[in-house]
């Protein structure tokens, strides 16, 4: 992505924006009634422009997943605001949610756990359409076939169950299910982890194709900084529940300002160089 282009995108109004988001969990200590709170999010700001890919990075436990669940409205933040397409949505009632839910979708990391093992592929894809009562009967069936084709699954696999599919195929199935409701904003929660490199590349290409075709906005949560460096227009770095850095990809990777970001990048570079050295050593 070119720098001017990204800068121009940054000037356009945000697609989704989080303002001062905080969330804490009350935990009960084992074998006692003492309670204590864990701050998962602390005054988090985030802005995602339309039709871009923003990567959310940070170590595990830094609050990435909580932020994702809040944006997907699977959890309510304690305080703060979430703006989506010009509306504040964090305190939506069930009526507004019915309208909102289809527009914001999430694809989980663990595709095996995110698909009901008792369902067939067709049932999996049809589920959101059934819930939203978009289609029914033969129309539903043809829409399911369409979606399977779009994500590169043969239509005659409709009766296979998730556990009969490979990891990549399951992820395709999950993607087909997520785009069935024609969302505008997709949260990819570690969706590319746990796949081998070539599958990862294929799924990534599929996601980028879909982005072009439907002008989707992506929020990619990932551990894999080399992947992020490749694809992200913007990068947001989280550390211990706080958003420590947020900006265009090149800026962050080129001149990280926050100490934690440097640390994060440094460790990756270290591993990478060690890996290359090992590879080089192996080839000799």
């Amino acid at each position: 992505m070119k720098t001017e282009e990204a800068a121009q995108r940054a000037r356009t109004p945000a697609h989704i924006r989080a303002v001062g988001l905080s969330k804490s969990y009350v935990q009960r200590a084992p074998f006692s009634h003492k309670k204590f709170a864990i701050d998962a999010l602390l005054d988090v700001q985030l802005e995602v422009s339309p039709a871009t890919l923003t990567a959310l990075v940070g170590e595990s436990g830094s609050g990435k997943s909580t932020l994702a669940r809040c944006l997907a409205m699977l959890e309510k933040p304690d305080c703060g605001e979430i703006w989506f397409e010009g509306k504040e949505i964090s305190r939506s009632g069930s009526w507004e949610l019915a309208w909102l839910r289809p527009k914001i979708q999430m694809i989980h990391q663990d595709s095996a756990g995110a698909l009901n093992p008792r369902f067939t592929a067709a049932q999996v894809i049809a589920e959101p359409l059934e819930i939203q009562r978009r289609e029914s009967g033969p129309k539903l069936r043809s829409r399911v076939c369409e979606l399977m084709e779009e994500v590169g699954l043969p239509a005659n696999w409709a009766d296979r169950r998730p556990l009969e599919l490979s990891g990549g195929q399951r992820q395709r199935l999950a993607i087909a299910r997520a785009i069935a409701l024609k969302p505008a904003f997709l949260i990819l929660d570690e969706s590319l982890s746990g796949l081998d490199l070539s599958t990862q590349a294929q799924i990534l290409n599929l996601l980028l194709d879909l982005q072009k075709a439907h002008s989707l906005t992506y929020l990619l949560i990932s551990h894999d900084l080399s992947l992020v460096e490749q694809v992200a227009d913007f990068v947001a770095v989280m550390h211990q529940g706080r958003m420590v850095e947020h900006g265009a990809g090149q800026d962050i990777f080129g001149s990280p300002r926050h100490a934690h970001t440097r640390e994060l990048l440094g460790s990756v570079r270290l591993v990478e160089s060690a890996f290359r050295a090992a590879q080089a050593g192996g080839q000799q």
Partner: protein
């Protein structure tokens, strides 16, 4: 608050819950003890009404419950309409007899089940394990009612044992030793019934938990170190199997108590069973509630004993103040 205190408070709360439950059911039901009197033409309706108000039956539930709690605190445990005396005096003797029977049966059942369970677990898949499994399956399908009847039948046919009651006629005239023998011979049938009825489940659970421990890596490692026989069993296997077994002890006491009610009625053992049955038929509400409370108390106390035993046996369970 330490562990034991918390358990005791929990137990008391449970007992309170049971009493509320009993009262709730009792009041939802139509009719009461004095309904039968109304049918009697010799007793005037005014007398019945007077009796009802005297015993407080015409009052609303919370008030009646309050009066009952008050009498529990005074140590009376309510008032029996049929016997015209406080429930406590009725219940104490009967509860003691039930306790004698169930404690004896629990001890015997565990004494038999423990070696059986350990043995069959050690001999997994061989002929004696299979025999044991078939035996427990068969015994599991025979209800206490049937076991008691069959044993009673055998006793009566062979004249080897007394057929019912707790002591023979003329018990008071016997010497101390003869009294003990007489009591013991009366105990054989009810106790044997309870032991036979609780044995299959005990053996199965003991076998299963010992088997699980036997397959655990640390036991395999101990074996590889050349530890075997009794040392392996008592130092490694049984302590590790103690946790599931102690909760089984609590459960088995519950099963024995319910079973003992029936056995007592059939064999004429003067425990809480016959008292509860009589009171049920006469609708003597406070006696009924007293018997339920006493049996629940035994059950809670039993599972507490089991927990304390567990603490003694299993070093992993800590009694911290956390």
């Amino acid at each position: 608050m330490n562990y034991l205190e918390r358990r005791v408070i929990h137990g008391v709360l449970l007992l309170a819950g049971v009493s509320v439950l009993c009262f709730a059911f009792g009041v939802m039901a139509p009719g009461d003890f004095f309904d039968e009197m109304k049918l009697n033409p010799q007793i005037s309706p005014a007398t019945v009404a007077a009796l009802r108000s005297q015993y407080g039956i015409d009052q609303p539930l919370p008030l009646r419950y309050g009066r009952w709690v008050e009498s529990v605190l005074r140590g009376e445990w309510g008032y029996s309409f049929a016997y015209n005396c406080p429930v406590r005096s009725l219940l104490m003797v009967r509860a003691g007899n039930t306790l004698l029977l169930t404690t004896l049966a629990t001890l015997l059942a565990w004494l038999i089940a423990l070696p059986l369970g350990v043995w069959t677990a050690n001999r997994r898949g061989r002929w004696d394990d299979r025999l044991g499994l078939a035996g427990t399956t068969l015994l599991l399908s025979v209800p206490e009612l049937v076991i008691a009847l069959v044993l009673l039948y055998l006793a009566v046919r062979t004249h080897a044992l007394p057929a019912g009651g707790m002591v023979s006629v003329g018990f008071g005239g016997l010497g101390k030793q003869a009294q003990l023998i007489d009591l013991a011979s009366h105990l054989v049938i009810p106790a044997a019934t309870l032991v036979l009825a609780s044995l299959p489940l005990l053996v199965r659970h003991i076998r299963a938990s010992v088997l699980e421990v036997l397959q655990a890596p640390f036991v395999q490692a101990a074996r590889a170190h050349g530890i075997g026989g009794a040392r392996l069993l008592f130092r490694y296997v049984l302590p590790a199997a103690a946790n599931p077994l102690s909760s089984l002890l609590g459960l088995s006491i519950g099963g024995l108590l319910s079973g003992s009610l029936l056995v007592e009625v059939i064999t004429g053992w003067p425990g809480m069973g016959p008292l509860l049955l009589e009171a049920s038929l006469a609708r003597d509400v406070h006696v009924v509630i007293g018997a339920v409370m006493a049996s629940t108390f035994f059950m809670i106390a039993g599972s507490m004993v089991a927990d304390v035993l567990l603490v003694v046996l299993d070093p992993r369970v800590r009694l911290g103040s956390t």
